[in-house]
């Protein structure tokens, strides 16, 4: 069994240092603009910050993967090319991309730098992945969180590149890279602007009884009674009404986080090269706990032991965790 690469989120330079110190094999990050899919206020890196951070990461033998994984709208492609050129100059170890035009630009202009296919490209079949490998020499694909472990194993047998899978964090069933729910409500696009439920459009309204209403733009997306755990203020995690269902319900998915700690040995045996922790929008406290826990678990498996991860539940959305699609198909 090969030692898998632990790929960890870095929303800020401090979070990146925390991840490196906690034992990340690789960190992923983005610039402070629409070129990456976590274009949130106050998050991400300026060019000088990335320069310093890459030097520190490399000194700790940690790779830096730059997410340039949104879809540039026509007429604005230059911003993405600049991000790529800066990343190349700074010496990032790979680009994570979703857009065909961006992939082509990197393939032609920076062929020496590895290309990883972002989950935002929504490549879920061997054929789709082989297309990107054939056209752009993609070295690794980040798989959507919708495949079972046996399906991942089959995938590994059929494709000519490495596999990276999510093991912890946000559990989304919406096909990434194909969602314009946020744009429908706020006028900002997940694909083109890199935002999802932009904070500027989110409002929390608490009543005297302690109930909290969450609004996105002019629409109510959920209402939590005072003793209920909450989730992210995204449309896909809200509760709604429909005639076919009795009362408000989580029409898309419940606030819940993915935690695959007990499936790690199976994933590693299935041929997964890299294990990804979601959460560039999370704090360095989160990065520290989750990365350290998974560092220990992976090392323990490599030494022939059992993965043991406890104490991460508090960090999960809705304070609930799942093995999601990786275990079975009954969630569909």
């Amino acid at each position: 069994m090969n030692r898998p690469e632990l790929v960890c989120p870095a929303g800020t330079p401090s979070a990146m240092r925390t991840a490196v110190d906690a034992g990340a094999d690789a960190v992923y990050c983005g610039f402070q603009n629409a070129t990456n899919a976590r274009n949130f206020p106050g998050l991400n890196f300026t060019i000088p910050e990335l320069e310093k951070s890459v030097a520190h990461a490399h000194a700790g033998d940690t790779k830096v993967l730059l997410a340039v994984n949104t879809f540039p709208p026509a007429g604005k492609v230059n911003l993405w090319k600049e991000a790529v050129d800066e990343g190349a100059r700074i010496g990032v170890d790979a680009f994570i991309v979703a857009d065909i035009g961006v992939a082509d630009y990197i393939h032609k202009n920076h062929p020496e730098i590895r290309l990883h296919l972002s989950v935002q490209a929504a490549a879920s079949t061997p054929e789709a992945i082989k297309f990107y490998c054939r056209e752009f020499n993609v070295k690794r694909v980040v798989l959507p969180r919708i495949l079972t472990v046996p399906e991942i194993k089959n995938m590994a047998d059929e494709i000519p590149c490495e596999i990276e899978t999510f093991i912890f964090g946000n559990h989304g069933l919406m096909v990434e890279g194909r969602c314009s729910l946020t744009n429908y409500i706020t006028g900002l696009s997940t694909n083109m602007d890199g935002v999802c439920s932009p904070a500027a459009d989110v409002q929390y309204i608490k009543d005297d009884a302690g109930n909290m209403t969450t609004k996105l733009g002019e629409f109510t997306i959920d209402c939590f009674s005072c003793d209920e755990n909450a989730g992210y203020p995204t449309i896909c995690k809200g509760r709604y009404l429909t005639p076919a269902h009795d009362g408000a319900y989580y029409a898309f998915e419940e606030p819940i986080s993915l935690n695959l700690s007990t499936l790690l040995p199976d994933l590693m045996a299935a041929g997964v090269t890299a294990l990804k922790i979601e959460g560039r929008q999370r704090s360095r406290a989160y990065v520290k706990s989750v990365v350290s826990a998974y560092r220990k678990a992976v090392d323990s498996i490599m030494a022939g032991g059992e993965p043991e991860i406890s104490g991460l539940l508090a960090l999960t959305e809705g304070q609930k965790e799942t093995q999601g699609a990786f275990k079975s198909k009954t969630w569909r």
Binding site: P41, A200, A230, Y286
Partner: protein
């Protein structure tokens, strides 16, 4: 005023009455033990020193605030009898305590238990996790709060330790007592 008194005032705790395992729930019968020394005006110069110190040590954090450096944040430690008003404008820093009944005008309000807020500022606890558990409430301009959170989270090391250091060994002792209390509370 001694360092001890200043630091106790800064964290809103009077050590002389401290229970060995301080209760930090708002409904706690020991709430009285968490009262800061009145009057509030004694707190104001300390707050000014804290905010200036943090800003001096971490000049880069202001970039993450974007347009929200002029926003007025109310920080509401719900189990204490006062709130803080913060305006993180590097040219005109402002941190001041107000009685809750005199709640000042503000753009956003962040409410939680005092120790949770302290750990949040310090990067010791994840804000999203507190939010999921309903231990943290945000009202007003959500984007401004997210920016402030990200700005503080990018500060390496511990703001609370920096502040504690301002008050010498006594400050450090008090902070570790607080942290132990929090740990006990979390593991219970």
């Amino acid at each position: 005023m001694s360092n001890l008194a200043e630091f106790k005032a800064a964290i809103g705790q009077d050590m002389t009455h401290t229970n060995p395992t301080p209760e930090i729930s708002a409904s706690s019968p020991h709430l009285a033990r968490w009262m800061p020394p009145a009057p509030l005006f004694m707190l104001q110069p300390i707050l000014r020193r804290i905010v200036k110190r943090v800003a001096r040590e971490n000049p880069d954090m202001f970039g993450r605030l974007g347009p929200h450096y002029k926003a007025n944040f109310v920080i509401d430690p719900m189990n204490l009898p006062f709130v803080l008003l913060l305006r993180p404008d590097p040219d005109n820093l402002f941190l001041r305590a107000y009685r809750r009944r005199d709640l000042p005008d503000h753009d956003a309000k962040i409410s939680g238990k005092f120790l949770d807020l302290l750990m949040l500022v310090d990067g010791d606890v994840d804000g999203d996790a507190l939010f999921f558990a309903r231990e943290l409430t945000i009202t007003g301009n959500t984007e401004a709060v997210v920016c402030l959170r990200n700005a503080l989270d990018d500060v390496d090391g511990s703001i609370a330790s920096d502040v504690a250091n301002m008050f010498g060994p006594v400050g450090r002792t008090t902070l570790s007592a607080l942290r132990r209390a929090k740990q006990r509370q979390t593991s219970n």
